[in-house]
């Protein structure tokens, strides 16, 4: 194996909820949100800009566990969402925190669309909040979009937003119409309620609860995972030919004494360059997949505990893997020292698909 792996010093003290790399070209900065109420900003570069073992730049305390985080327009802007019901913008350089809006329940996910300059948050109060930002990074207006079920995961491309929800519901929104329709709503922290029909309503291809959705970097489709060790790959194009291409496969399972132990697939992340994707499961295994050729590229050695999140750096050279003791049946304690962040430096072709044979 050509890759070399290291752990990040000063990881969160409690379970990790999300890990995201900055989208800025060649940036090696990433943020991690944790149940210890903090958001951590790490960078693999040192002061001289040389990529190394990585270090903690800053951490921002919240009032409640943070469930999701994402980068904004630059690597100095992040948005956070958590159990304190708030969606926040944090400017890393100035450490200033601004509440964009408040939901009526914990906020599960937050994403940022740089094409439309929008922050979208999904909360267990069954709503999406769409925040349109002005160039001075203030919110011009906010719209609240009702959802049929609790959202569990959200991912977007340049043009589409995919929301995976309870009851196996899945909505695909067109960002352009979302931007137009919410643009008419009134601004402020009290969001105007807007009923917006999604571009597509789908039922999950998987029989069990959706755990994670992740969009392909080429805007062609998305992958979703469930608590029942399965990943589905689907395409946006509603034509019959494209829909015929969708498929699902089993993964993150272990056979022990005739019983197949099935782990949830907690995290999916697409490689920004090769279009392959990584999956991280409750079994502590990270696997790389070629979604087009339908082949597994490689599977890394088991990590000591459940994979909470995986993420590729914007240049595709690093794969960060966050592990936390999984919240599984009958297990809810986090033992110290079990929360870790690994970073793999990937070889040139390590995440590259083999091509169809």
């Amino acid at each position: 194996m050509t890759s070399n792996q290291f752990t990040i010093t000063s990881p969160p003290t409690d379970a990790i909820s999300a890990l995201k790399f900055s989208h800025a070209p060649d940036s090696t900065r990433f943020v991690v949100s944790s149940w210890d109420k903090n958001v951590y900003v790490y960078d693999l570069r040192d002061e001289n800009g040389v990529a190394g073992e990585g270090k903690l730049l800053q951490k921002f305390e919240h009032r409640a566990p943070v469930l999701d985080v994402c980068f904004g327009a630059t690597e100095d802007e992040i948005f956070t969402a958590g159990l304190d019901w708030d969606v926040k913008r944090i400017d890393i350089a100035s450490s200033s925190q601004t509440v964009l809006s408040s939901h009526d329940a914990g906020v599960r996910s937050v994403v940022y669309s740089k094409e439309h300059n929008m922050v979208i948050s999904a909360s267990w109060d069954n709503t999406l909040h769409v925040h349109r930002l002005a160039d001075d990074r203030t919110v011009t207006n906010t719209a609240s979009i009702p959802l049929p079920s609790k959202p569990f995961s959200m991912s977007l491309t340049a043009t589409k937003l995919v929301v995976g929800m309870a009851s196996r519901a899945l909505h695909i929104y067109d960002l352009k119409s979302l931007s137009l329709l919410t643009g008419q709503a009134e601004g402020g922290t009290a969001p105007a309620k807007v009923e917006i029909e999604p571009w597509q309503r789908r039922e999950s291809s998987l029989k069990f609860m959706t755990r994670c959705v992740a969009c392909m970097p080429d805007d062609a489709g998305y992958a979703s995972s469930s608590i029942e060790g399965r990943v589905a790959v689907e395409w946006f194009d509603p034509s019959a030919e494209s829909q015929a291409r969708k498929y699902a496969f089993k993964c993150h399972r272990q056979a022990s004494d005739d019983v197949d132990v099935v782990y949830p697939v907690n995290s999916l992340a697409f490689h920004p360059v090769h279009g392959t994707f990584a999956s991280g499961g409750g079994d502590g295994v990270v696997a790389l997949w070629d979604g087009i050729a339908k082949r597994r590229i490689r599977q890394y050695q088991r990590y000591p505990s459940s994979i909470a999140a995986v993420g590729f750096s914007s240049n595709g050279k690093y794969l960060a893997i966050a592990i936390s003791p999984g919240y599984e049946d009958g297990k809810d304690d986090v033992v110290d020292g079990t929360v870790k962040i690994y970073v793999r430096e990937l070889g040139e072709t390590e995440a590259k698909g083999k091509g169809a044979k």
Partner: protein, 420 residues
């Protein structure tokens, strides 16, 4: 005999199944088959174990779109895909023969070594020391009688029409009771040159009994042996056995084996003299050979190609022809069935596998089995993660007590845990 009981007899050694591809031998056929599946018929792409090389070839081309060219882990001259091998079935007769010869040679050599170490001279060693053996009586009476009968039959046959009797002088006085032929396990020391009758010993071998009657006609100990440099071994397929045939004494020792196998083929060999009146003929079906051929045979070569073409050429004999020789291994019907199964392994295995996959999914156990409430929601309900909005200050949210926040996901309480 007590000594022999401790180590496996030649019979037992010869009966052991062995792998065509790597010449390894095994305790039983099951282990051999699993060995072949693991070592030679395993797909290097996906690790699937196929039953035959042909099956693996089909699997490789259909599943991985690759062409299998050679069998993995095989000896260089055995890696061909043309031979359909399953366990001991399908092994070409000439390969079986050379394997058996090698086993016999090894057995005899180890026996000799063992005797050298223990200091117990083999009963047949008397000829080497120039003394007549004391042990002829060890051979039991029934064996003696059998061999005498065979010898007589042989003589009668050669008198009746066989030319071989004339071509080589019948060893005068070489009755079956001669020391050389009645000696039980006679093992030549590896360094021994051809020494008259002794090499034909080895009473432990089942082949000895059937083969020995041939030898009186060959008049062992004849002085006109050609020098060993004239040896050419056209009939042997190359053997990857180091040391095979290096010691001259081994050639005569192998001869009984060759002849015994040839007798097995007697019905096929058209050149055999007919001896209709003799019931034992199949056992003593010595081919018609001229003096030169006899010499060659005596030197340890198999019969010239004209005599037994199927064997000497290394062709694979038709299964029906040698079925009698391997009938204790396989019945013809079983073989046909297995071949048929081997020819179409794919659909059968696929059909088997699908139900088993379904069975597995039935038995699977979800690590996280709540299909309604996400792990994050459950965690959020834990007291230590409870959010207290009071800290926010005096804003409008104060009317919401923490319990409301914690209870934001009340559905889970009523949720019936779906049993996988």
């Amino acid at each position: 005999m007590g000594k022999k009981r401790r180590s496996p007899t030649l019979e037992e050694v010869l009966a052991r199944p062995w792998c065509y591809y790597c010449e390894r031998d095994f305790d039983d056929l099951k282990i051999l088959i699993s060995h072949q599946k693991a070592k030679h018929f395993k797909c290097e792409r996906c690790g699937r174990r196929l039953n035959t090389a042909g099956g693996l070839s089909v699997h490789m081309s259909q599943v991985h779109k690759e062409q299998l060219t050679a069998v993995d882990n095989a000896l260089s001259n055995r890696s061909s895909l043309d031979v359909e091998i399953f366990g001991m079935e399908g092994v070409p007769e000439d390969v079986i023969q050379s394997h058996n010869q090698r086993v016999i040679a090894q057995f005899q050599q180890s026996e000799a070594e063992r005797q050298a170490i223990t200091g117990n001279p083999p009963s047949g060693a008397s000829t080497a020391t120039g003394q007549p053996a004391k042990k002829p009586k060890v051979e039991n009476i029934s064996d003696l009688k059998k061999r005498l009968a065979e010898h007589k039959a042989k003589k009668a046959e050669s008198r009746a029409g066989g030319s071989s009797g004339e071509a080589t002088p019948v060893g005068a006085g070489q009755t079956p009771t001669t020391a050389g032929f009645t000696q039980p396990p006679t093992i030549a020391a590896p360094t021994q040159p051809f020494s008259y009758p002794q090499p034909y010993g080895g009473a432990g071998s089942p082949y000895q009994a059937t083969a020995s009657p041939v030898y009186p006609n060959f008049s062992p100990g004849q002085p006109q042996y050609p020098p060993p440099t004239q040896y050419s071994t056209p009939g042997y397929s190359p053997q990857p056995v180091p040391g095979f045939g290096n010691t001259p004494s081994q050639f005569p020792q192998q001869q009984p084996q060759i002849n015994s196998l040839q007798t097995t083929f007697a019905p096929r060999s058209g050149s055999l003299p007919s001896a209709p009146s003799l019931p034992q003929r199949p056992a003593v079906g010595a081919p018609q050979v001229n003096a030169y051929q006899l010499q060659q045979m005596h030197m340890g070569h198999p019969l010239p190609t004209t005599a037994v073409p199927g064997v000497a050429n290394g062709e694979k004999p038709e299964p029906t022809a040698f079925s009698s020789s391997v009938d204790d291994l396989i019945s013809g019907a079983a073989k046909q069935a297995d071949l048929a199964a081997a020819a179409t392994p794919k659909p059968a295995e696929g059909a088997e596998e699908k139900p088993s996959k379904k069975d597995k999914s039935k038995q699977s156990r979800l690590v996280y089995s709540d299909n309604e409430t996400s792990p994050e929601e459950k965690m959020a309900k834990l007291p230590r993660y409870a959010f207290v909005p009071d800290r926010r200050g005096e804003t409008a949210l104060q009317e919401l007590p923490p319990s409301v926040v914690v209870g934001q996901v009340p559905i889970s309480e009523a949720t019936v845990m779906p049993d996988p």
